[in-house]
């Protein structure tokens, strides 16, 4: 019960901060837009080909903007030594991790909810029949990515060139999550192999569990002062 309250307190702090400055969500959204638009220029948007690459474009936009959001959120903690403040509180280190993951998932989800309709309009996708499943996949992919990303952004925030370090650490390790999220999205959007996408979703759940547990266990070693 107390743990839940502590998590909510940290979460509330992060959300309030974001509501005041709005810099993370705005920069993430703008960046995701740009990625989508660049893809429209680099591929021929009128052909059928772009529809096949749509899941890939969607996830590249989400992951790249997610990467920006993660590095921003920890840079902000560093700038005002806010992390010290949180660490001074009598809170279990692992709870900080949970709160941070939830916060990052929330920010990334908001961006997704903005980007998804834009993608649907620009690429003329039909997602009506699989919308609930698609939202589940988006959530699971984001959860895994944010789970690894929260740990790594804490690490990279303490390195010399943190903006460069985060993607270098994050993307190779999260290959399984990226792969299964993209694959299940592709099967959902193609509308043919719903069964195939289900097995990928199961795999994605498994990866999420593994990564979240490991990162949860290791977080205390990263955050100690």
């Amino acid at each position: 019960m107390i743990a839940l309250k502590q998590i909510l307190a940290i979460l509330r702090k992060d959300i309030l901060l974001e509501l005041r400055s709005k810099d993370i969500i705005v920069s993430m959204c703008v960046f995701a837009f740009i990625v989508v638009i660049v893809f429209n220029f680099t591929f021929d948007p009128t052909t059928q080909q772009i529809k096949i690459s749509a899941p890939g474009i969607l996830w590249v936009a989400l992951l790249f903007s997610g990467n920006i959001g993660l590095s921003r959120s920890f840079a902000r903690e560093q700038e005002n030594s806010m992390m010290q403040g949180v660490l001074l509180c009598p809170v279990d280190r692992s709870l900080i991790y949970i709160a941070k993951v939830i916060g990052n998932v929330i920010f990334m989800t908001i961006v997704q909810l903005i980007i998804l309709p834009v993608m649907v309009i620009l690429l003329d996708l039909s997602i009506g029949h699989v919308l609930p499943q698609l939202l589940v996949v988006l959530f699971l992919g984001t959860l895994g990515f944010a789970g690894i990303g929260t740990l790594f952004s804490t690490i990279s925030a303490n390195t010399k060139s943190r903006e460069v370090m985060l993607p270098i650490l994050l993307f190779p390790v999260s290959v399984p999550v990226i792969l299964s999220a993209t694959k299940s999205t592709a099967y959902l959007l193609s509308g043919k192999d719903i069964g195939q996408s289900l097995s990928w979703i199961k795999l994605l759940v498994g990866f999420d569990v593994i990564f979240l547990v490991i990162c949860f266990l290791l977080y205390e070693y990263v955050i100690e002062e």
Binding site: I148, L151, F152, I155, N158, T159, K160, S161, M165, I168, L169, F171, P172, V173, V175, P176, L179, S180, K183, W200, L203, F207, I210, I214, C215, L218, Y221, V222, E224
Partner: protein, 228 residues
């Protein structure tokens, strides 16, 4: 001190002999493969390199866990040395692999699970080495590296599994890999011997590398003492 030096020397000599014998076996003793011809001889050093990089990354993970538990600095040194050797051998794997694939499969690269996993492994441990050099606080950097090394190693089977799922439809090229896949007995002996030789090579390189880290450490301690 003298005894230790002698042990090193013996280790180096043994490794040297083993690798030389391995070369002899690979080039003269083992018969040429029927379909692939002499290019297949890359195999005897390609597979052991993959094996060494795998052990090396396992040691990184193990040393990382022990370091996080005990906080003793020498485990971090061991992990750093092992990671460097692992990256060296995974680069060897990634270079010799395509050189073997080109004349045999007529393509440098396929997105087969083993190839892709090796590539991702290379990316992970290259990131590991970068991380080590990018943290100014030594003690904290060691902890970061240990955490990343553990996650990186746990990631290996997961990456392999996900890529295998991803590429199930793709025909995986037949490599004379695992045991009993129609490998002539001489070839199997050669492979086993090369695996042994490369394991020794790994141990020797690790000892040398670890030792050189020790000298750096000594130097820094001396410098620190002087400044105070």
């Amino acid at each position: 001190m003298k005894n230790i030096k002698l042990t090193y020397l013996v280790l180096i000599v043994i490794t040297y002999m083993l690798v030389l014998t391995g070369l002899y076996l690979a080039f003269i003793y083992a018969p040429p493969e029927k379909t692939m011809g002499d290019v297949q001889r890359i195999f005897y050093f390609h597979v052991p390199s993959a094996w060494v990089s795998f052990i090396a990354f396992f040691v990184v993970c193990l040393a990382g866990i022990i370091f996080l538990k005990t906080g003793k600095e020498q485990w971090d040194r061991l992990a750093a040395s092992s990671a460097e050797i692992g990256v060296l051998f995974i680069v060897i794997v990634l270079i010799t692999g395509p050189l073997w694939a080109k004349p045999v499969w007529n393509t440098y690269w396929t997105w087969d699970p083993r190839l892709t996993t090796s590539f991702v492994l290379f990316l992970i441990y290259a990131a590991y080495l970068m991380l080590r050099s990018y943290v100014s606080n030594k003690e904290r950097g060691a902890r970061f590296a240990a955490v990343f090394g553990i996650i990186g190693f746990v990631d290996v089977p997961i990456v392999y599994m996900s890529i295998r799922w991803w590429r199930t439809q793709h025909p995986t090229p037949v490599i004379g890999g695992g045991s009993g896949s129609g490998l002539a007995p001489e070839m199997l002996t050669t492979l086993m011997f090369c695996l042994l030789a490369f394991t020794f090579l790994y141990i020797t390189l690790l000892v040398l590398r670890y030792q050189s880290e020790g000298v750096v450490k000594e130097f820094q301690a001396l410098k620190h003492k002087l400044q105070n």
